[in-house]
Every structure is written in structure tokens, then in C-alpha cells.
Amino acid sequence: MNTGNFRKMRALVALMAVGVLSGCVADRAQEADPLEDVNRVFYNINDSLDRHFIKPVAQSYSNVVPKGVRSGVTNFFDNVGYLNVILNDILQGKIVQALQDTARVALNTTVGIGGLYDAATPSGFPKHDEDTGQTLGAWGFGEGMYLVLPLRGPNSLRDAPDLATSAVLNPLFYVSSMAITFPVGALSAINHRANLLEATRIRDEAALDPYSFTREAYRQNRVFKIYDGNPPTQALDEDYYEEGETGVLKVY
């Protein structure tokens, strides 16, 4: 590893440590978005950048590049970042799933021509969605403060460590040539944004205050993922709570 990569890794490990420690002191009060003022500033900057630059590029990319090619690009980046999924399978004790996911990477990298084609799903090795935030959630860590990260968008102290693990477990992280990393990174970002066009269209149509809307949707979707699509009854029951005048949650 060269010095630049070592520095990057040290910074990411430090970030990860902050995230893990924060999980230990997470409580309901923290989850109430204490950083809202700062978050809204970053939200507005991200939104402005998105509206003026990123979304128009993603829209053009979506219009010009055929769907099959876009799927290939999505498959490639999913496959190249899949070691992070396998690590988190193991950390959550899902050993069978870790073995299946290892077979998935092997199949997609070889038969799937470097990951461009998803050969594994039809062969009985479906894609799983695991990350370090979900692992920390499964281990019992609270969400911690809600964060809006510059350029990255919605996040939380519990989810932030995944920035580190997903980076260091991605082989593209170790490519030092800017001539490769810049265009590949740009393609990844544009393709990712293109995949979110429909979701953001729905948000823009429905939301009165897009910041609150996005925060709530992000938090709930994260719980859904932590529980692998089957969140417990209590999470649903929260809808039947109302903040009383004293701020205490009460059932009605």
C-alpha cells in the first residue's frame, strides 16, 4: 500500500471508530436529529448540486445509454463492491449466506465476464443487501444522529463506518492512477444517480419538506434492511404513537 492509500485508510478507520463509539451512546434524544440545522445546510448544497449538475447528467445518461448497458454497469459495480457484503454476512453470523455470496462473486466475475452480467441469480445465488451499518444495527447499536453528508446524502452515525469498510474492501480503492479512478468513479456516481431517478421523482412530487421526507424514509428503510425485510411489529406500531404535549410518546 502506498503512502496516500495508507493515509486514506487511517482516516477511514478513525471515522469508523467514531461511528462505533457513537453507537454506544445512542438514545432516543440523539435520534431526534440534533444536527438538523447543519444537516439542512448540506442537504440544500447537495440538492442544488444535484439539480444543476448531477441529475441532468444522470438523466441524459439514462436517455442515451441502453437499459441493458446500464444494467451491466450496475452489475459491475455491485460485483466489485461485494466483498463488503460477504464481510458483513460473516459479522452477522450468516455463514451459509456468506458462502452463497462468495459463490456469487466467483460466478459473476468469471462466467459473468468481470461482473458485467449477473450469472449468479439465475443459478440460485441471489443478491443480498448487507453493509456495516446493518451489522451494527443487528449487534444492537442505536441509529445515532442522523447525518447528511456532503455529496453522499442521508446517513447516520451507525451507517457512516460503512464508508470505510466498503471503500477498503473494494479493489478499485487500490487503483492509484487518476486516469482510471476518475472516470470509473464518475461512471459509478452517474449510474447510481440514474438508478435513483424514479425514487427522487416520487419524492419531489410527494414531499412538502423534502428534507424531513427523506430523513424519515431513510431511517425506516434502514430498519427494514437491518431486519432483512421483516421488521418487528414494534416498528410498525410506532405509527400509532403520537407526541403528547409533554413530548412523551403515548398510545391512542
Partner: protein, 203 residues
Amino acid sequence: MNVGFRALAVCLMLFLPLRPGIAAEVGPGQVVDRLHLALLDVMKRAGELGYQGRSALLTPVVESSFDFPTIARIVMGRHWAGLGNEEQQAFLKTFSRLSTATYAARFDSYGGEDFRLVAEEPQKDKILVRSELVKADGSVVKFDYLVHPGKDGGWLIVNVIADGVSDLSVKRADYTTILKNEGYAALIAKLNDKIAQYEEPGR
């Protein structure tokens, strides 16, 4: 089976739903199923119907499937109690119109999707109806409906949870922020703006 028995069976099948009392006993899964069938119908005929046609078909189904008074109370959070009766009724009416407009605007094309009911799970006095929207490429979006007994009998939907995201919670976070920062009048104005956007020609 002899002809007479078969005729009797057919008669029973035909007339049972017409008997008062039995017709009203539409279970929680059927409420969701009826909504899904209406949505599929407008999706398949989206172009021919246009926005107004979709809205006309969906309005009676949506209004008889959702418990809007309960939903309105929950999405307004603690602000509900502070509103006068007229304000509550005005919000309820606007919210109900927006819900129908949203369905009519969003379900505007058909790409081979299908809905399927997966399970009905009791949750205290409510039933969680689990369903899936299966897209043409095989990908699935989970739609869970929380259904509870309505005041006048029958079952009514109080929440839709799409891939874990609760519509009630998102709306409550969204609306109460506007109420807190800008007030009731601004909330109603913004909801009416949304309805107007959905009703724009070309939808």
C-alpha cells in the same frame, strides 16, 4: 354431481353475495385486493382513461378502502388537537383529495406489473396484509397494509408500508415540519399545490 344439485350450487354462488350482511363482510385481504385490482385496471387503460378517467375510477375505491379520518389525525400528530373542527374537516377533505390524486397520477402506465397477496398477520386489533408488487423483470417491492376494523363495520386501510417505509410516518414527519415552521394555512396551500400539479394537463 346431478344437474339439479349443480344448479342449486350455482344459484347459491350467485345469490350469496347479494344477501345483506354477507356482502358487507369484506375481509382485510379483500380490501387490499380490491384496491390492487382497481390500480391494475387503471394502469392497463392509463392512456385511454387519462388522468381524469383514472381519478374517476379510483376515487370511490380509494375513499371506501382507507380510513381517512384516522389517517388525518395521525399524520397531523400533536397538532391535530389544536385545530378547530372546521380546520380538521378542511384538512381531512384536502388530504383525501390528495391521496386519490396521487394514485391517479402515479399509476399512469402498465409495464407487466402484478400484485399478489402474501399473508394476513394479526397485530393486536389490526391485520397486517402483506403483499408484493412484482415487476416484469421479476423484481419485487413489498407493500404491507395495516388494516383495522372501521367504525361502521368492515375493514379499512390505515397505513401502507412500501419496502419498510411507512407512508403514515413519512407524511407525519413531512406535514408536522410545515405546521411547526409555517403554520396550518401554509400546509393546506402546499397540499392544494400538489393536487394542482397532479391534475395538470398531460397527466
